[in-house]
């Protein structure tokens, strides 16, 4: 088994969805997460607040500095993510397709460095 990160690329410059739209979106992504649980593929899921709430700590000269905002000031930011466990990339990609349709955002699929337990 391998583990994959399905990262949601969220466009912060896009107009905010209405409350109903947001609710529908949450319902759709929640359904995908439930499907993952039922299939035994689910490891973790989390939605993130936008970059206004983000702080970066950088190391240097044995100490650290603190800055407001995300690593890069781009309009695409990490909006949330799933961690899933499956046999191969094809399975991960088919979950990612469901996630992309559910949340309406691009999904980046990245394998974890080491498949836990082989």
């Amino acid at each position: 088994m391998k583990q994959y990160l399905l990262a949601v690329q969220f466009d912060e410059s896009a107009p905010a969805p209405s409350a109903t739209e947001l609710q529908e979106q949450m319902a759709r992504t929640g359904k995908v997460t439930d499907e993952m649980r039922a299939a035994g593929s689910w490891v973790f899921v989390g939605g993130l607040l936008p970059s206004h709430a983000t702080t970066v700590i950088r190391p240097g000269n044995g100490t650290t500095t603190m800055t407001d905002g995300p690593f890069a000031e781009t309009k695409e930011q990490l909006g949330g993510f799933w961690v899933i466990r499956c046999d191969d990339l094809d399975q991960a990609l088919s979950w990612a397709e469901k996630c992309a349709l559910a949340c309406g955002c691009p999904i980046e699929v990245r394998p974890f460095e080491d498949a836990q337990g082989g």
Partner: protein, 396 residues
């Protein structure tokens, strides 16, 4: 048969089989190369079944090598070898290592160039330099793409299997492109002799296997028909002293009637379905070329018009211009290719040279032949162009 031709013929098959046994393409390539290194010392004459010898030796070499190593991948591969010593686990409807390999190499998570480069390298046994010439890209780019693609297959967990029925249609487009390019590399090699018959036959074999797997995909049938109708003319394509013979001058009695009949039947099957696509249209064009004693150029041009709508590429436009010249004369054809941009592609100046010569513009034609001769990478094609050029100089 010398070792070089054994390598050409068996490399792809052996790597595909070893990849199934070892679960890793890189390990499989190393093992197959080890086995060929052993063959250099051991063979006075290749054994009756050189492929089987290479697979067995590669497998034993891989076991030795893996026992010495203690990485996680090595232990995993060793376990695979010991638990599945001979028979593959069936991951799809087709029991064919090479087909499994082609779907892995053509996985849509890989870039298009990486897909084809990998397939030509792993299934066709082509050198990086040959692939680079076929694609008109620098050698270093191809080498880098192949390394990165193999790394991604391993690290991202791209499976080594034929996709399940539901995924198959999506995976097909890139597989068809790759088979088409493998055949083309065999039909007009990028270097050395004109033909690499082994590649042509391999592409036809893989296309047949694919058509058996997906009999309801019109483009799969179209590709098989196209390859068969082109392959059928191969015996007439090279003259007695190895020189290139163009379609119009070919001895049609040398064409393979059986393949032509099979190709025509497949084209008719496509027509009945009425879902035309680029491969079916090219197959139809070749069906016209191989129908009766001479080509019906009006039909060919109509088909090229359709093809250009489906795939508006400069290469299709160039081929269409050849039909224009046959039907309406060289002047409109020359006008049609005037704007085309195909850097490094020798057939553009070669076509222009032929049209200029027909218009009596000998000096311009000679200059265009010079350009084509510089760009041609295949000895036979270069000789053909030089002969044409020399004939013009005599007339001038």
């Amino acid at each position: 048969m010398d070792l070089d031709s054994v390598f050409r013929a068996e490399y792809g098959r052996c790597v595909a089989t070893l990849t199934r046994m070892l679960g890793d393409i890189g390990l499989a390539e190393d093992a197959v190369q080890d086995a060929f290194a052993v063959a250099v010392h051991k063979w006075d004459e290749p054994p009756p079944n050189p492929g089987a010898w290479i697979v067995t030796t590669a497998r034993n070499r891989a076991i030795d090598r893996l026992r010495r190593e203690s990485t996680r991948e090595a232990r995993h591969a060793q376990a695979l070898l010991l638990h599945h010593p001979k028979e593959p686990e069936e991951g799809g409807p087709v029991r064919d290592d090479q087909l499994r390999m082609i779907f892995t190499c053509c996985h849509p998570a890989l870039s298009p160039l990486a897909q084809t480069a990998l397939t030509l390298r792993l299934l066709g046994g082509l050198e990086v330099a040959e692939i680079a010439r076929a694609y008109l890209v620098p050698e270093a780019t191809v080498a880098q793409r192949i390394v990165r693609a193999k790394k991604k297959i391993r690290d991202a967990g791209i499976p080594y299997r034929v996709p399940e029925a539901a995924e198959l249609p999506d995976r097909l487009t890139s597989v068809l492109t790759v088979l088409y390019l493998v055949f083309n590399e065999g039909y007009t090699s990028t270097s050395g002799e004109l033909l690499r018959t082994d590649l042509c036959l391999e592409a036809v074999r893989l296309a047949r296997a694919l058509a058996e797997l997906m009999p309801d995909e019109p483009e799969v049938i179209g590709l098989l028909a196209l390859l068969l109708l082109t392959e059928a003319r191969r015996p007439a394509r090279v003259g007695p002293s190895g020189e290139l013979v163009v379609l119009a001058e070919q001895d049609r009695s040398l064409w393979n009637r059986e393949l032509i009949a099979e190709g025509h039947e497949l084209v008719r099957r496509c027509l009945r379905r009425a879902q035309p696509g680029p491969y079916q249209l090219q197959a139809a064009i070749n069906a016209v070329h191989t129908d009766g004693p001479a080509t019906d150029w009006a039909q060919v041009l109509a088909l090229y018009d359709q093809l250009l709508q489906h795939t508006p590429t400069p290469i299709v436009a160039l081929n269409r211009a050849v039909a224009v010249a046959e039907l309406h004369g060289p002047a409109p054809a020359l006008a049609a290719i005037d704007e085309l941009d195909l850097p490094g592609y020798h057939l553009l100046p070669a076509t222009r040279a032929d049209l200029l010569a027909r218009l009596g513009r000998t000096a311009d034609a000679i200059a265009a032949y010079d350009e084509a001769i510089t760009l041609a990478t295949n000895d036979t094609e270069r000789t053909f162009l030089e002969t044409r050029r020399a004939r013009l100089e005599l007339e001038a």
